[in-house]
Each structure stands twice: as C-alpha cells, then as structure tokens.
C-alpha cells in the first residue's frame, strides 16, 4: 500500500501515461494498413491495459486487480496472438493492404470526433464515480470501445475485424478496472475464457469463409444485401 502523497501522485501519473498510450494504440489500429501490424498494436494495447490494472491494483491494494492484469497479459498479449498466428498465420503474414471504406486521414478525423464524444458522454457519468482513476479510465476506455467499433465497421478484412472486436473488449475493460475494481474473480476468469472462445470460433469461421469464398475479404460478401 503506497504511503506518501508523492507515491500516490506518481501512480496516478503512471496510470494516466498508460491511458494516453492506450488511446494512441486505439488510433494506431485505425491508421495501420497491414494485418500483422494490427496484431502487434493489439498486443501493445493489451499490455497497456494490464499495466493500468497493475498500477490501479497497487494503488488500491487490490489483489483482484493485480490478477486481472496478469490474466490480461497471459490471455490477450500471449494466448490470443498465438492462437491467431497458429490458425491463420498465412493470412496474417500476407503483405497486402487492408481495404477500408474510408481512407485513413478521413478515418482519423472521424476517430477524433468519436474521442471528443466519449469525453462528452463520460462527464455526466463521472458524477457517481468512486475515485480519481475513473476520470482518466472511463473516457479513454469508452473512446477505445468506440474506436474499436469504428475500425470493425470500416475494415473489409476478416482478421482485422476480429482484432477490432477484441480491442473493443480492451476498451470496456480499461474503463471497467477503474469503475468496478472489485468484480469477482470468477467473472474475470469467465470473461478471459470467453475472449479465447471468441478468437477460436472466429478463427474457424474465417477458415470456413476462406474455404467457401476463396478470400477473407469479407467486405466482398454481399449476396445477402437487400436491394
């Protein structure tokens, strides 16, 4: 348990630093053009989420938050990339550009608007927040969630869409560790397990898509579109 005021200040600043980089990686997921780079940025984002959980866990002397950090690191930074590389290695390493609905500068501008919106929405919610960390984590977590949703919408490739969904999950948890720090452990474990199943199911589905349609550019699947 940190004793002096300066330690608390340092921990708060460290958390804010992790949050800043977290937001940066969320932008990075939208700005990158290669699939493998997308995965690398996702791993960095998961590590930053874990870092924030560690800092907040130390600050609040909360064992469960420290464990959340550990689980995040193990599942999102190690197991998920390993699963994705194992089942879809060729897809990930293919060096082609991910096609997007909007070009990248336009996407970044829209992302900026989304971040401002996230802050705008968070302010009234923060009225009931328990501590100072929520003021940093809630808006940035919400921004991460919205940017992930945006990335998922504009990407036309299967693997980046899955990574975007997982990064949305990162955003939700980034807010969650600050606003609901004492979530019971079983819930954390179940969510980690669930994320693994998502990755596995989506991986199998991507292989099926590839097998039947011959590509993983899911944006080209338009047979079910209404006229």
């Amino acid at each position: 348990m940190p004793g002096t005021d300066s330690t608390i200040l340092l921990l708060t600043e460290l958390n804010a630093l992790a949050a800043g980089f977290f937001l940066l990686t969320a932008f990075g997921l939208i700005a990158t053009r290669q699939i493998l780079a997308c995965l690398k940025i996702f791993v960095i984002q998961a590590a930053l989420l874990a870092a924030s959980a560690f800092v907040l866990g130390y600050q609040n002397a909360s064992g469960s938050l420290l464990l959340v950090g550990g689980i995040t690191l193990a599942v999102k930074a190690v197991l998920i990339p390993w699963l994705l590389l194992g089942s879809l290695g060729n897809e990930l390493r293919s060096r082609r550009e991910i096609s997007q609905v909007f070009n990248i500068p336009a996407s970044l501008l829209i992302s900026l608007v989304l971040v401002v919106f996230a802050y705008f929405v968070s302010v009234p919610l923060l009225g009931t927040a328990p501590g100072g960390a929520a003021a940093v984590n809630l808006p940035i977590g919400l921004a991460g969630l919205l940017l992930g949703a945006y990335a998922m919408t504009v990407r036309r490739e299967a693997v980046p869409q899955v990574i975007a969904i997982l990064s949305m999950e990162n955003g939700a948890f980034f807010a969650g560790i600050a606003i609901a720090p004492d979530l019971p452990l079983i819930a954390e474990l179940a969510v980690a397990f669930d994320v693994l199943i998502i990755t596995r199911v989506m991986g199998v589905l991507i292989m099926k898509v590839h097998e039947h349609i011959g590509t993983t550019a899911v944006g080209e699947m338009a047979a079910l579109k209404e006229e």
């Binding site: 009234p124 919610l125 009225g127 009931t128 927040a129 328990p130 929520a134 977590g141 919400l142 969630l145 992930g148 949703a149 998922m152 299967a158 869409q161 969904i165 949305m168 999950e169 955003g171 939700a172 807010a175 969650g176 606003i179 609901a180 720090p181 004492d182 979530l183 019971p184 079983i186 819930a187 179940a190 969510v191 669930d194 199943i197 998502i198 199911v201 989506m202 589905l205 099926k208 898509v209 039947h212 349609i213 899911v218 699947m221 047979a223 079910l224």
Partner: protein, 230 residues
C-alpha cells in the same frame, strides 16, 4: 430444483445427441423429449414465480423472478417448437455424410438452448453477460450449418454484429455496476434491475444505458430465434 433441471436436461441431451446410432431419429427424439421436459419445468417455475416470490435454486447463483420466468417460458416454448421443426430441417439439409452432421447439429442446438435458458435464471450479472455472449458463439455454427456461401456469409455477419453488441453490453454492465453499487460487488438481480426492483435502488442516470442495451439484446435475440430453423 426446477431451475437445475432446466439447465441440466439440455446438457444431457447434448451429450446423448453425440451417441452414434444407426437410425437418424435418436438425436431428434432425445432433443424433443428434452425440450418438452424443459418446457414443463419452465411452466412450473412460472406458476411458482407468478405468486410474487422468487424461485431460488442455489442462492446467489441460480434464481428466477416473475419477469425472468416469463422469458424462460418464451425461450423454452420457442426451443420446443424449433426442436420439432429441426427434425425435418436437419435431415433435409445435412447432405452427404448425413447422420454425423445431424448429430453435430443436435449437439449444438442443445448447447445453444442451455445458454439461452441460462440468461434469465443466472443471478450474477456478469455471468448473465457470459451466457448472452455464449448464445452467439454457440449459434454461429447453427447459422452456417447449410454450408452454402450464403450461410457462411450470414454466420460471419451475425457473429461480428452480435460480438460487437455483446461488448457494448459489457460496457453497459460495468456502468450499471458503477451506478448501482460504488463498490462494484456485482450481485444484483438482472431482471430485478430491469423492472426497477434492484436490491439497491438505481441512483443515477447511468442506470438507463445498460437497461436499454439489455432490452436491445433481448429483442435482437428474440428476432434471431426463428433464424435457427429457416
């Protein structure tokens, strides 16, 4: 006790569906019998809950109030009718290695049914979220079952959209915890929260967001149930 049967029966039916038999009718018959039993148990639960007292099987884990029992009744009824419909559907669409694929269909169908039934009876709000998420993941391969390009496309779009929705709902749950209980202990009754009878009365405007996202989830789910056996 009924609530335990409601969860266990489809799991047993899923295990039995894997049993390799010569004829094609073993798995469908097991599933239909299972869903009939689940429907009877749900009806019984609904009768009990309609008196105003919650039906509690395992305190803090498995419980059902009046609104939850209504959902339970709806899910088990649709589950029963879809199981009957599946008899013809799965046989017709199974293709070359038929019996094996039919068995796989029924295993997935029963597991999907468990996840659907778990949503109204689980007491812990984060476990409810897990169950909602599992309904998606377990039904994806039911959607892609016909194995045509259209079915795969539908499965992909369905999986992506519902996973996205579930993540937004996760955020909603976390906000609900923030609004309901500053310590975030998380043991609130979902259905109680929906009908405005949460253990800790809602205190902030934040409560409205997750309630809406749940309603949307439920409506989406109700819409996708017929999708099971198109």
């Amino acid at each position: 006790m009924e609530l335990i049967y409601i969860i266990v029966i489809p799991v047993v039916a899923a295990a039995l569906s894997l049993f390799p038999t010569k004829g094609r009718s073993f798995a469908p018959l097991t599933t239909i019998l299972g869903t009939v039993a689940v429907f009877i148990a749900s009806f019984h639960t609904a009768l009990k809950a309609s008196t105003g007292t919650d039906v509690v099987a395992i305190k803090g884990w498995l419980a059902c109030d009046a609104f939850g029992s209504l959902l339970l009744l709806l899910v088990s009824f649709v589950g029963l009718t879809a199981a009957i419909f599946s008899w013809g559907y799965s046989g017709k669409i199974a293709g070359p290695n038929g019996p094996e694929r039919v068995r796989r269909y029924y295993r997935r169908y029963n597991l999907f049914l468990v996840s659907m039934l778990a949503v109204p009876v689980l007491s812990h709000v984060t476990l409810v979220w897990i169950a909602v998420e599992l309904t998606t993941l377990l039904s994806v391969f039911l959607v892609s079952f016909p194995n045509t390009p259209e079915a795969i496309e539908a499965a992909w779009k369905y999986a992506v959209l519902t996973c996205m929705g579930a993540t937004l709902a996760l955020f909603g749950i976390l906000i609900l915890l923030l609004g309901n209980d500053p310590l975030g202990r998380g043991t609130i009754h979902l259905v109680g929260a929906l009908s405005g009878r949460a253990k800790n009365a809602p205190r902030s405007p934040a409560d409205r967001i997750p309630v809406r996202s749940y309603r949307i989830r439920y409506q989406g789910r109700a819409g996708s149930s017929p999708h099971l056996a198109p």
